[in-house]
């Protein structure tokens, strides 16, 4: 019958209209600033730098190797390497970045910097509310803004952070064992041919000989 389809359609829209009042299933709108959905674990927005311990200066994992800077497809990372060195999480002496800038207006969130980093120092953040009225300075994140603690990393990506921590612990344990072995060997060597080489000890405590010994 002519017009039947129109009536069916009208019934369908009426059902939607009434349904949106009675069933939360139909009305899927999340009213964003007031209501939020927790981001899924693999959310990624822009990179940040991870630091261990409480001090973002001393605990920064980044060693300014500049691999990420070279690999970054849109070239949004700028790193200035330090002249001096500081010990990393293993205790090994490493350079550190005096400047580490990411221009998030250029960054395309490809995560390549994270993939290439050998030190687990750069990870993807989930913070997306980065709107600013200063489109140059406000979107250029410096080292201070980028540094975030390992606890924060655990908070936003628990699974991934746990894996990373396990890997780092393993590495640290290996390094510790090696250092211990080297120290023992050095002690044994020192004990055997009496006090001949007094050069190394005052510069750095145990790790240095370990590095040299290996």
């Amino acid at each position: 019958m002519l017009g039947e389809g129109i009536l069916k359609g009208m019934a369908e829209t009426a059902r939607n209209f009434v349904g949106s009042f009675v069933s939360a299933e139909r009305l899927t709108t999340v009213q964003y600033p007031e209501e939020r959905i927790a981001p899924i674990e693999n959310t990624r927005v822009f990179p940040f730098l991870v630091y261990d311990t409480a001090d973002p200066e001393a605990g920064l994992r980044c060693v300014a190797c500049q691999i990420c800077e070279k690999e970054c497809p849109p070239k949004c990372i700028f790193i200035e390497k330090s002249k001096d060195k500081k010990p990393d999480f293993v205790g090994k002496q490493q350079f550190y970045p005096t400047r580490f800038d990411i221009d998030i207006s250029v960054c395309m969130s490809c995560q390549i910097c994270v993939e290439v980093c050998p030190f687990e120092a750069i990870k993807m953040d989930t913070q997306f509310e980065l709107a600013t009225d200063d489109r140059f300075g406000g979107l250029l994140m410096d080292r201070k803004e980028l540094s975030k603690s390992n606890e924060y990393y655990h908070h936003i990506h628990p699974t991934e952070a746990a894996e990373v921590d396990a890997r780092l612990d393993e590495e640290k344990a290996k390094a510790d064992a090696k250092a211990k072995a080297a120290a023992e060997a050095a002690a044994k060597a020192a004990a055997a041919p009496a006090a001949v080489p007094p050069a190394a000890p005052p510069v750095a405590a145990p790790p240095k000989p370990a590095g040299e010994g290996s």
């Binding site: 829209t13 009426a14 949106s20």
Partner: protein, 391 residues
């Protein structure tokens, strides 16, 4: 008391005017009524826009506007401020005076239509003997303004939109007129208050509205279709056709001129709903005799709101027609059916009181509806198109 409530606006007007000298009273009374109409319907427009956005939202399982004020009720105010503060761009090669006049003509013509609309007992601005004719004359003027807008913009989309509007409005204007002619045939008058008066009596508590007769129902359906097309409402919103023509005839309009077009379109919708109410739904008369104590103007505006809700509902449901479908529908289905309805109305008029005319008229219309539906749907150009080279 009931009588007073019913006539409250009329009494108020008389009371206000009575303070003036006798020579000024007639003019002041008219002016006051005009001011009320000019304020009331734009207010209704604001509310209708809010209702439309909310309703469409709900139909699409969204919330609709909900940021400005409680339930987004102040959204129309925000929209108004926005359109007032926007830059008014006139294209360099546009025909500037006509480009400016088009929205003005539209709104003026649409407002003129309200002059003859009886909004309650004794609540009509001009009780014209040929009120219906006047209304349709004003309704036809809106077509001119639409084409003025389309032509003066010097933009092919605008022009296409204007052309479409003219083609569509003229086709459906015929149907609109012919379907209301049957009411005139029965009521025997062109005066809208008298048409309402003719429907305002009851048998067994039920009103004698024309929609409750076979020819009235058919005429009402045809009138509603034509009214939807005439006001460019979805599914007949081809002149705007945002997916095809940017915004149709008001592509080149911005700021407050655009808002005027928007206003004009909604006002046209209200006035044509008012006319449909007057012609077929008994205007301001109550739907049951025991409800006559409710003021007449409440009934009129309730019916108007009902029409607006149906318009919104249809807009949320139906997809836009194709131009050829639109024309075929107008000339090959709606118009013949309306002509048949005229004949049936005449039959109804001359068959006299009794049950025979009910059966006879209903049978003719129903048979025609079914047959025309069957035949029409099976015709080549009504069936879904098959594309030979684009499989």
């Amino acid at each position: 008391m009931i009588e007073k409530m019913d006539q409250i606006f009329v009494l108020l007007l008389h009371w206000l005017v009575s303070y003036l000298p006798a020579s000024l009273q007639a003019a002041a009374s008219t002016l006051l009524s005009v001011v009320v109409i000019v304020c009331l319907f734009p207010a209704l427009f604001a509310f209708a826009v809010w209702m439309e956005r909310k309703g469409l939202g709900r139909i699409q399982n969204r919330l609709g506007p909900n940021r400005v004020g409680p339930f987004g009720l102040f959204q129309p105010i925000a929209d108004g401020i926005k359109s007032l503060t926007k830059e008014d761009v006139v294209p360099l090669i546009a025909d500037a005076p006509i480009h400016f006049l088009a929205p003005v003509v539209l709104v003026v013509a649409v407002f003129m239509g309200f002059a003859v609309l009886p909004m309650g007992r004794n609540m009509v601005l001009v009780d014209m003997d040929a009120g219906l004719l006047f209304y349709f004359a004003m309704g036809a003027t809106t077509e001119v303004s639409v084409f003025m807008a389309g032509w003066s913009s010097r933009n092919k989309y605008s022009l296409l939109g204007g052309m479409r509007a003219i083609a569509q409005m003229i086709s459906y204007e015929v149907v609109l007129l012919l379907s209301s002619v049957s009411v005139v045939m029965i009521a025997g008058t062109l005066s809208l208050p008298k048409i309402v008066e003719a429907q305002n009596h009851y048998t067994w508590g039920l009103p004698h509205w024309y929609i409750f007769t076979p020819w009235g129902l058919a005429g009402f359906v045809m009138f509603a279709i034509a009214a939807t097309a005439e006001t460019n409402r979805s599914p007949f919103d081809l002149p705007e056709g945002e997916s095809e023509l940017v915004a149709g005839y008001f592509t080149e309009y911005s700021g407050f001129k655009f808002a005027l077009f928007f206003l004009g379109e909604y006002l046209a919708m209200f006035s044509i709903s008012g006319i449909a109410t007057t012609l077929f739904l008994g205007g301001w008369s109550a739907p049951f005799s025991f409800l006559t104590w409710i003021p007449s103007w409440i009934w009129f505006f309730a019916k108007l709101e009902m029409f607006i809700i149906v318009f919104i509902w249809m807009r949320g449901t139906l997809p836009r027609l194709r131009q050829d479908q639109l024309m075929n529908f107008a000339w090959k289905f709606v118009l013949p059916f309306t002509l048949l309805n005229l004949f049936v109305t005449a039959l109804w008029r001359f068959m006299g009181e009794g049950w025979e005319r009910w059966v006879f008229c209903s049978a003719i219309l129903l048979a025609a509806y079914v047959v025309m539906g069957r035949v029409g749907m099976n015709r080549e150009n009504f069936r879904p198109r098959s594309y030979r080279y684009a499989e």
